[in-house]
Every structure is written in structure tokens, then in C-alpha cells.
């Protein structure tokens, strides 16, 4: 596809369970971002991957959160032992490394509800 693809689009999970959220960036984009969007909280940066460099994990809220990017393409965000405060929309985005403007392209998001 032409855009950033995320799955699942919706996930309801029980407190304490682990969840995995997947992101397929736009082909050829070397930068990949994860954000969390909560009601009234704006966009919270979580993690940033750029090519083969070590990821910038400075936004991950706790050690229950982790992310990886395999082969410079697909990324998975994992949340272990989910808590109710993890309920939010998780947005993935990608961006070309080179070129003008460095526009960020977003997926539609994965809506996570922890019950």
C-alpha cells in the first residue's frame, strides 16, 4: 500500500496481558516513529528509529514498553502487563531520511483499550 499501515486497528485486552502492535511504514522510509495519543494529552513521543542507528527510546513511559524494527522496515511495539492507563491510540509514522521538508506520514492508529 501507499501509506503507513497499522494493525490491529482496535484491541481490547485484559489488565495484565501483553499486547503487540504492528506498523508497516511506507516503503523506503528510513525513519519510523511511535506516538501515543490520549484524550486531552496531545501526541506523546515514544520511540524513534532511524536507519541502522540505535533507536531513541527516551519517550517510553516504563520498562513495560519496548519496540523493535526488523530489517529496517516493519516495527512492533510491545506493552507487557498492560495497565488501564495504557489505554490510548498508538500512532506509527514514517519519514524519508533524505529529501526536502522531512514530512512525517502517519498511520491510522491502533486503539488500545485495557479493561
Amino acid at each position: 500500500g501507499a501509506g503507513v499501515s497499522q494493525s490491529p486497528s482496535n484491541k481490547v485486552t485484559e489488565k495484565g496481558k501483553d499486547v503487540e502492535l504492528r506498523c508497516d511504514p511506507i516503503s523506503g522510509h528510513t525513519a519510523l516513529y511511535w506516538y501515543r495519543q490520549s484524550l486531552g494529552q496531545g501526541l506523546e513521543f515514544l520511540i524513534y528509529f532511524q536507519g541502522n542507528s540505535a533507536p531513541d527510546k527516551s519517550g517510553l513511559p516504563s520498562d513495560r514498553f519496548s519496540a523493535e524494527r526488523t530489517g529496517g522496515s516493519v516495527s512492533t511495539l510491545t506493552i507487557q502487563r498492560t495497565q488501564q492507563e495504557d489505554s490510548a491510540v498508538y500512532l506509527c509514522a514514517s519519514s524519508p531520511r533524505q529529501g526536502t521538508g522531512n514530512t512525517i506520514y502517519f498511520g491510522e492508529g491502533s486503539w488500545l483499550t485495557v479493561v
Binding site: G3, A31, Y33, Y35, G40, Q41, G42, L43, F45, Y48, Q50, D56, S58, L91, A93, S95, R97, T100, G101, N102, T103, I104, Y105, F106, G107, E108, G109
Partner: protein, 107 residues
């Protein structure tokens, strides 16, 4: 680090009134700045970027280095402008967005 600040969480204006969504930045050098928009039930998308000096959907944004601002303006608001607006820096590094401003256009 490149940082932006959006001082207003919510801005309500009447249809036909002028709109100004504020964004201030705080870093040196040549800033690259963007406005993104999220309409209801749509994905977040680019609205405009300052290097293009373009007008999109009637919106413009001018970089003011003296005031370190990149405010988004539209002379006459329309109901379909109601959305969340985010200011963001560009550049080849992680991008931290402003908190966003919800624009509500009252019919």
C-alpha cells in the same frame, strides 16, 4: 533539541471569523516547521510547511524569527476547519509535537 509550544488547548471561533492558532519555537539555527491536522475519524496529516510558503485550505503560516513564532492563520473560518492542529519541528531527528490545539468552529 527543537521544541515547539502551543499555548492553547482549545480555540473556539464563529464561522466567518478569523483564526489564529499559535505556535512558538525555541531553538537556534534555521528552523523547519510544520503544521499537521487531524480531522474527526481521519489520520493525522500534513497541512503545510513553512519552506513551501504555500496556502492550503485557506491557511497560511509565516515564520517570524524575531518572535520565534509560526502561527497558523485563516481569514474566515469554516465549519470544516474544526479539527486538532499540531505544530511540529522538522529536521533529521526525532520529532516532538506540541500538545495540539483543538479548533472548534461554531456555526
Amino acid at each position: 533539541a527543537q521544541r515547539v509550544t502551543q499555548p492553547e488547548k482549545l480555540l473556539s471561533v464563529f464561522k466567518g471569523a478569523p483564526v489564529e492558532l499559535k505556535c512558538n519555537y525555541s531553538y537556534s539555527g534555521s528552523p523547519e516547521l510544520f503544521w499537521y491536522v487531524q480531522y474527526s475519524r481521519q489520520r493525522l496529516q500534513l497541512l503545510l510547511r513553512h519552506i513551501s510558503r504555500e496556502s492550503i485550505k485557506g491557511f497560511t503560516a509565516d515564520l517570524n524569527k524575531g518572535e520565534t513564532s509560526f502561527h497558523l492563520k485563516k481569514p474566515f473560518a469554516q465549519e470544516e476547519d474544526s479539527a486538532m492542529y499540531y505544530c511540529a519541528p522538522g529536521g533529521y531527528q526525532k520529532v516532538t509535537f506540541g500538545i495540539g490545539t483543538k479548533l472548534q468552529v461554531i456555526p
